[in-house]
Symmetry: C2
DNA sequence: ACCATAATGCGACTTTTGTCTCATGTCAAG
DNA sequence: CTTGACATGAGACAAAAGTCGCATTATGGT
């Protein structure tokens, strides 16, 4: 089995696992929707072994490494403390946007898998979504947080979560047929409007 | 076969088709993720026949009737011409919101299916998404459209498309863990801010 | 270098999904 | 009432998705 992390042939297990994950990511990047068989073959591992590590392709996809740097709050916003809140949030969004464009296919498959689970009412299960965005949003707003009331802050974060991430990309591309650049423009405007409205003195 | 609509036993064909669709909708509403087999059995039809009408369960789900009234622009906004743009848009959103809550499971499955297709780059295929929301948004803004510039109007519609629909529900529930009522509050605020900003005289 | 054991590969088997053919029953036009 | 077209059901078939047991190989400790 491939369970205990403490003893045994830890090295070998880690290698196969990594091999499977990177193979899955590679196949998706090539535009395929790989089956477990495909991934196993690409990782030069037998099908049975693949199933020993992951119960399904979806489980594999969720853990598969994303292409390029996944935006890290510090890396993106470090040294930018002087910028205004809207600029900082937009900066964060820009980096997540780029990441989403690069990993479009994989993120779509991950989202699809999570939707199929939640459609059955499996909310009480294990991790539903990774939620990278909230951390990023909060980091961007951190220097200016004290200038926003508690209630307004929560509202703004939730609103921005709608603008960040895969789901907005899906709406822009699949529903509206809008390209990446235009999508960025619109999101930039939304961020500006939402953040400004949250900062203004006594507006509604 | 079940192809030609002109001659033959049109009546019977329509009945089976309808039976399949309603059976599928019913099963989903019961919280299941039905297979073609399940739907066929529920519709009291052989599996082969089910496949004669729909190539897959997904195709069935897409056409399956949604529970309750799917918001119609006229029904929701008729006689409300006196309201301001933000109020009208919010009214439209409220009706779509309610519909999304009622049909959560089915809409999620539909979204998941479309994501799996677009992940493969099948953009050039047939209908990607139904896009009920754009019609609703444009109808809500129609009475005030002349007060908004062309560029601003397009931007506003796209931004609102992010707030309307299933995707936002998914973000609120699955990513943020927010309940329906709170989600409505936040969307209401977003709509207000976005519409107002688009109407203001010379703001940015 | 050797050995016990853990990871792997292989192949058999089951279930699910989707296709195809053919016999059967039924509708509708004459 | 008869007949021919046509939708359906039943079952055979193939491919894909998982599972399982057992033989084989490689690894790490001695």
């Amino acid at each position: 089995m491939a369970k205990r992390t403490t003893s045994g042939r830890v090295n070998q297990r880690l290698r196969t696992r990594k091999e499977l994950l990177s193979a899955a990511a590679r196949l998706v990047r090539e535009g395929r929707t790989p089956s477990m068989d495909d991934v196993a073959e690409a990782a030069m591992v037998s099908r049975a072994t693949a199933y020993r590590y992951f119960p399904s392709v979806e489980a594999l996809l969720v853990e598969a490494p994303l292409d390029g740097a996944v935006p890290d709050a510090d890396a993106v916003l470090g040294g930018k403390e002087a910028l205004g809140p809207a600029e900082r949030v937009d900066l964060a969004e820009a980096s997540l946007h780029e990441m989403c464009v690069r990993n479009g296919a994989q993120l779509r498959l991950m989202l699809a898998a999570s939707l199929e689970r939640t459609a059955r009412g499996e909310h009480g299960g294990v991790p539903v979504r990774q939620n990278r965005r909230t951390r990023l949003i909060e980091a961007a707003l951190a220097p200016h947080r004290r200038r926003i009331g508690r209630e307004r802050y929560g509202r703004l974060c939730a609103a921005l979560a709608l603008v960040f991430g895969v789901e907005s990309m899906v709406v822009f591309e699949d529903v509206l047929g809008i390209n990446d650049a235009r999508a960025r423009e619109i999101k930039r405007w939304m961020i500006d409007v939402l953040v400004r409205s949250s900062m203004e003195g006594s507006r509604r």
